[in-house]
C-alpha cells in the first residue's frame, strides 16, 4: 500500500516528543533543510513541522454559559457589554459571534462605519480578564420564572466558555483589487479605485493548510495551537472544498479547505484573540492558529517544504465582480510576488498589502516548536480523516 522509504507513526513521534528528543522545525525552516538534504533524508531527520497563521477569521465565536440566577432563568436574549449573543439554546447557554456589533452601533448608516466594538472585542476583553456586563431576558416559565437578569462577571467566574469557530484557517484566499472608480471598504480591507492597491490575507509558506494540502495528517482530534492555548480540530469548516484546481504540488490555486476548531476559552490569551474593527465592513476577531504536521513519511515532508514561490492565488475584483457574485480571475500570482510589495496586473504595477500578520504567524510556529521540543505539546492522532485515503 505504501512504498515510502521513511515511515513513522504518531505513537513513535509522540514517544520521541515525550523523551524530549523530537526534531521540530518550522514550515519556513524546513524549506532550506529539504533543499539541502533532499526530502528522504530530511524526513528521516525531522519529526514535526510547525505552522502558524494570525488574521481576522470572521466565522469565530464562543459558547458561553453565564451561570444560573435565583429565581431560575432560561435566557432567550443575552447581551455582553451590549453585544447580543444567540440564546436559542438552554438554559443559560448562548453563542457569542465575533462579527456581532454592539446594539447601539450606527453600522454603515454613515458609510464607512467604524464598528468600534463587537463580539470579537468582548471575547478579547474576556480573555484579558476584564469584567463584562451581562444582561439577559426571558419570557418566563413555570420552571424558569425569572424574566430579566443583570450581572457583571469575568471569564474566571463564568461556569464555562469555549471558543468554537466553524470556519478558520482558510487554505488560500483571493488577492483583492478594486477595478471600479470608487473606493471600496471590504472585509479585504480598504481598496482604492482603479486597482490602487492589492490586499491579500494568508501567511503563505507558514500557513497550516498549505503544508498539508490534502489534509493527510489533519483530522478530527488533531491538537493545535488555538488562541494561545491547546485546541482541537473538530471537523472541516463551513465552505470547505477539496475538489478544486491545484498546482502540481497539490496546493489549491484559490480558496479551498477550511477547518472548524474548538478550545477552552479560559486558557486563551488576548495576544492571540484580538477584536477587529474593519472599516465599512464590521467587527471581527483575529485568531492565532497553528498546526503541527507530523512527518509520517517523505511525501508529507515534501508537502511541508513548499515555498512562497510555489503557492499561487487569484486576483479578484471587489469593485464589481465579487459583490455581484461574478467569479473571474484577473490573473494568478505567487505569494513570493505578493510579499515582494508589487505585482503586475493587466500591465499595471500595483502595490500589495497583507492583512495577515507574518510576525505573529512566525511567533506561533516558534511557540509550537518550542512547546513540542520541551514535551509540553503531544500530537493528537486524528480519529477520523476528512479525505478518502
Amino acid at each position: 500500500m505504501n512504498d515510502h522509504k521513511i515511515t513513522k507513526t504518531y505513537e513513535q513521534i509522540n514517544e520521541k516528543i515525550a523523551r524530549g528528543e523530537a526534531v521540530v522545525v518550522t514550515a519556513e525552516e524546513i524549506i532550506g533543510i529539504a533543499k539541502e538534504h533532499g526530502i528522504v533524508e530530511a524526513a528521516s531527520q525531522v519529526d514535526v513541522v510547525t505552522t502558524g497563521t494570525f488574521a481576522p477569521m470572521c466565522s469565530s465565536g464562543a459558547f458561553i454559559n453565564i451561570g444560573q440566577s435565583k429565581p431560575l432563568v432560561r435566557t432567550s436574549k443575552t447581551w455582553f457589554n451590549n453585544v447580543p449573543a444567540y440564546s436559542g439554546i438552554a438554559a443559560v447557554d448562548c453563542y457569542l459571534g465575533a462579527t456581532q456589533p454592539c446594539d447601539d452601533d450606527p453600522l454603515n448608516k454613515r458609510h464607512p462605519g467604524e464598528f468600534n466594538y463587537g463580539g470579537g472585542h468582548v471575547i478579547q476583553d474576556l480573555v484579558a480578564g476584564k469584567t463584562v456586563e451581562i444582561r439577559a431576558e426571558s419570557y418566563g416559565t413555570d420552571c424558569y420564572p425569572n424574566r430579566r437578569i443583570e450581572k457583571t462577571m469575568t471569564l474566571k467566574e463564568l461556569p464555562n466558555a469555549m471558543l468554537v469557530n466553524p470556519r478558520n484557517a482558510y487554505q488560500n484566499y483571493n488577492c483583492a483589487v478594486n477595478r471600479s472608480d470608487r473606493i471600496k471598504y471590504t472585509y479585504m480591507g480598504t481598496l482604492k479605485p482603479g486597482m490602487g492597491n492589492a490586499n491579500y490575507s494568508t501567511s503563505g509558506a507558514l500557513s497550516p493548510l498549505f503544508n498539508d494540502p490534502y489534509l493527510k495528517t489533519i483530522g478530527l482530534g488533531t491538537r493545535i495551537f488555538l488562541g494561545g492555548a491547546q485546541g482541537y480540530v473538530t471537523w472541516t469548516g463551513t465552505q470547505h472544498k477539496s475538489a478544486v484546481d491545484r498546482g502540481l504540488n497539490g496546493v489549491p490555486l484559490g480558496p479551498a479547505g477550511t477547518l472548524s476548531v474548538i478550545g477552552d476559552l479560559k486558557q486563551m490569551s488576548p495576544d492571540w484573540l484580538v477584536g477587529q474593527s474593519i472599516r465599512g465592513y464590521g467587527c471581527s476577531l483575529s485568531v492565532g492558529l497553528g498546526i503541527p504536521i507530523p512527518i509520517l513519511n517523505e511525501e508529507i515532508l515534501k508537502y511541508t517544504a513548499v515555498s512562497d514561490e510555489e503557492i499561487f492565488t487569484q486576483i479578484v475584483d471587489y469593485g464589481y465582480d465579487y459583490p455581484e457574485g461574478v467569479s473571474r480571475s484577473y490573473g494568478q500570482v505567487s505569494y513570493a510576488e505578493l510579499k515582494s510589495g508589487t505585482i503586475m496586473v493587466k500591465g499595471q504595477q500595483i502595490s500589495t498589502h497583507p492583512l495577515s500578520s507574518m510576525v505573529k504567524a512566525r511567533k506561533i510556529a516558534e511557540l509550537l516548536k518550542s512547546a513540542i521540543r520541551r514535551s509540553k505539546f503531544l500530537l493528537g492522532q486524528p480519529q477520523h480523516l476528512f479525505v478518502q485515503q
Binding site: 450606527p106 454613515r110 468600534n116 482604492k192 477587529q276 474593527s277 471581527s284 492583512l355 500578520s357 510576525v359
Partner: protein, 143 residues
C-alpha cells in the same frame, strides 16, 4: 475612544457654557477643559479635549459648534503607533499616502516613520486593531 484637543473661539454673542453642555447632551461627547479665557475683544477662547466613542460622533459635534458660529482649530498633532497593540497585519499600509507606515522585508514587520507622516488620520480608522492614535504637542503653550 476617539479624543482630540481643539481650540474653540466663541464670538462675544455666543454663550459658551450652553453650547458645551449641548455637546454632552445631544452628541454624547465627553470634554475636559484644559484652559479658558476671555480675550480683550470679549471673545472667549477655550482649549479642550473632546472625546467620543467614534470619530463620526466627534465630527458631528464639531460640525454643530461651527454651525453655531464657533471657530474651531486644532493645535499641532502627531500620530503615534502603539507597539504593544500593533499586530503587524499590514492593513494600514494600504491607505497610508506617504508610506510613513511601511513593511520591512523580509521579516514583514510594519514600521512607522514619523518624519514622513502627513497626519491625514487615514490609519486611525483603518487599523482594525486600533493601534494608531493621535496626540497633541505643547498643549500648554496654546493659549
Amino acid at each position: 475612544m476617539y479624543a482630540k484637543i481643539v481650540i474653540l473661539k466663541f464670538p462675544p454673542e455666543v454663550a459658551q457654557k450652553a453650547l458645551v453642555c449641548q455637546l454632552v447632551k445631544k452628541y454624547d461627547l465627553l470634554f475636559n477643559i484644559l484652559s479658558a479665557k476671555i480675550s480683550s475683544r470679549k471673545e472667549g477662547v477655550m482649549v479642550m479635549e473632546i472625546s467620543s466613542t467614534s470619530r463620526a460622533g466627534f465630527k458631528k459635534g464639531i460640525a454643530f459648534l461651527k454651525e453655531q458660529g464657533v471657530r474651531v482649530s486644532s493645535p499641532e498633532h502627531q500620530i503615534f503607533k502603539d507597539e504593544e497593540i500593533c499586530t503587524h497585519c499590514g492593513a494600514c499600509t494600504a491607505v497610508c499616502p506617504t508610506q510613513a507606515l511601511y513593511i520591512q522585508r523580509p521579516g514583514m514587520e510594519v514600521l512607522f516613520d514619523k518624519e514622513k507622516c502627513s497626519v491625514c488620520e487615514m490609519c486611525i480608522v483603518t487599523c482594525p486593531t486600533r493601534a494608531m492614535g493621535l496626540f497633541t504637542k505643547k498643549t500648554n503653550a496654546l493659549v
